[in-house]
Amino acid sequence: MKALHIGRMAAVLTVGALALTACGTDNAVTPGNGGTSAAAGASVSGTLTGTGATSISAAMDAWKAGFESANSGSTIQYSPEGSGAGRKALIAGAVQFAGSDAYMKDAELADAKAKCGPDGAINVPWYISPIAVAFNVPGVKDLKLDAATVAKIFRGDIKNWNDAAIKAANPSATLPDLAITPVHRSDNSGTTENFTDYLAQAAKSVWTDAKSGDWPSALPGENAKGTSGVVKTVTETAGAVTYADDSAVTDVLGKAELKVGDAYVPVTAEAAAKAVDAAKVVGGRSANDLSLKLDRTTTAAGAYPAVLVSYGVFCAHYPDAKTVDLVKAFGNFAVSDAGQKAAADAAKSAPLSAALAAKAKASIDSITVAAK
């Protein structure tokens, strides 16, 4: 009985709390206030649900806002639980699309056939973000580093900023006598996987670990959770160096130029897009799958090979036409010029090149209703 009293009191409080804020509205942003402009196209309606990588959440916010304002009857739900969780949810049929920092492995594609039909799932690149090597060295903002030096720094083989190897590439910089503290991600992440992939390919002789979303635990150094965590730690620690999505690296930190071929390439969106263009599509998959095998050892002029590509993972077939229309409309919006520009404005990502965007659009357009 007393439980009821407590319940009643809770109910009163709830009503009170709701009454306090009963004037809630979804219109936080009025048009012209920085909101994304509407995209042209036939209007679709319904709710589309996705789960996946945290790396694209800022871009997803932008896509969601742009898409929902263009298609007033539609709702996009996206839960940033992680790439693995996203792929798993798609395989289980819990969501209509997944966001993933790594394309589906062959085994996962086979698993996806249970819910997605005999053609399984397709991976479509929709978000590119360069990974910066960011450092906090007082008085130094620019450094030129080659892959082997970066690998040695992160392995703890180069222990001081005035090391000869760094000096040789940067004769003009005044490098202080300061111990290097490498900082890496403590959580399993797509950024780590892409960065270790870069080191493993471009600095084969130094980086002997395989690429992995987990940082090799035997290596020395500090760690922190999430992109914002590593950036914050490096900002507060003199002599620290980390790798992070370029968009999150603040101006107080320096960013390294990486050696590609014979030149040093700074982190820019264009350079990242160039590196992705040089990538090959993974063979042995359905014709519409755009899984990319990045060549981190590329010597293409002006390409920045430490880059993260995030994929939208869709089923090749959905059971009803309404879902197909919705998925296609949203996918096409994300890879369109407007969508990529919205993401670039919001998340400082690198837009897909025109050629890749066209391929991505063709992939998404291949999604059809499942044959009964």
């Binding site: 945290t54 693995g84 503290t181 959580d187 399993n188 992440s189 987990d214 002599g239 620290a240």
Partner: protein, 292 residues
């Protein structure tokens, strides 16, 4: 009727827990049949789980060693030392503190506390480095297991203080007045009339606190710069089970997922063990219970 409802609630708990346990065991099972080389670290599940079990125990132990005496003292201060008006306000504040989300404690620990502790750690490493737990070199960021333990202590403190205060306030007034009338000082009165009465409740409060300290994920994940098991508390290293799960769960897939759930199962068992010990201690003091 009423007793039936009470019994029914008990049965419901049993059913729910059984379901949770089945869920855990089924999900964890593949880990134990997997080849040792497939487990993270490549040496089988035992060598994977051992360091993080120890790390969990270290962090929880630091938290309790700090929070238990201080929590009890805070509760005593509120119940028996502070002026009445002040006590009510303080009790209120302590209850509130238990409600601050762990993300906030984590953010506070990672940004504010860790940087404050850098210098003391440096000092400890230089002057007391011969004691293994203070072995240098001290962490450059202050994000160590000791910092994580202190943050946990701050989180656990309100729980212990709040429950202990309730217990202290329930101590029989007559006994306390009798003790004072016999010329006991305030401390003697507390020792003779309050603490023995409250012993079971205090242990219960500490156990609830321990439950939070063992299972806390976000705060540890944000504060601790994790690494392999080391003895030193002031170097970056060590890891707790809950934080390991939180950090790796989002990207986990296949066997790795089963592994993490198995780690959760182990955490479960540790808490169970600790609670059993606590129950056993309380049962030796049953005579102070009002209902028999």
């Amino acid at each position: 009727m009423f007793s039936g409802a009470a019994l029914g609630a008990g049965v419901l708990i049993v059913v729910v827990l059984f379901a949770v346990a089945m869920f855990l065991v089924i999900q964890a099972l593949p880990t134990f049949s997997a080849a040792p080389a497939d487990i993270t670290g490549g040496k089988g599940f035992t060598s994977y789980i051992f360091p993080i079990v120890i790390g969990t125990l270290i962090a929880a132990a630091i938290a309790l060693v700090i929070a238990t005496p201080i929590g009890i003292a805070v509760a005593l201060f509120i119940s028996h030392y502070a002026p009445r008006g002040m006590a009510r306000g303080l009790g209120y504040v302590v209850d509130l503190l238990a409600a601050i989300p762990s993300v906030i404690y984590g953010a506070w620990g990672a940004t504010f506390l860790a940087s404050q502790l850098k210098a003391p750690y440096q000092w400890l490493a230089e002057n007391m480095g011969w004691i293994p737990i203070f072995g240098g070199p001290a962490s450059g960021t202050g994000k160590t297991i000791l910092t994580a333990g202190i943050v946990l202590a701050v989180m656990v403190l309100p729980i212990i203080a709040s429950l202990a205060r309730e217990i202290f306030l329930q101590a029989p007034m007559l006994h306390q007045e009798a003790a004072l009338a016999l010329g006991a000082t305030r401390w003697e009165m507390i020792r003779m009339a309050v603490l023995p009465f409250a012993r079971g409740g205090i242990i219960s409060a500490v156990m609830l606190g321990l439950g939070r300290a063992l299972g806390e994920t976000m705060a540890v994940a944000l504060v601790l710069s994790s690494g392999p098991l080391i003895a030193s508390l002031i170097r970056s290293g060590n890891q707790t089970i809950a934080a390991e799960i939180a950090l790796n769960f989002p990207e986990a897939f296949g066997l790795r997922l089963n592994e993490l759930i198995a780690a959760g199962l182990v955490l479960f068992l540790i808490t169970l063990l600790v609670n059993m010990v606590a129950r056993w201690i309380i049962s030796r003091h049953k005579e102070f219970s009002g209902a028999n």
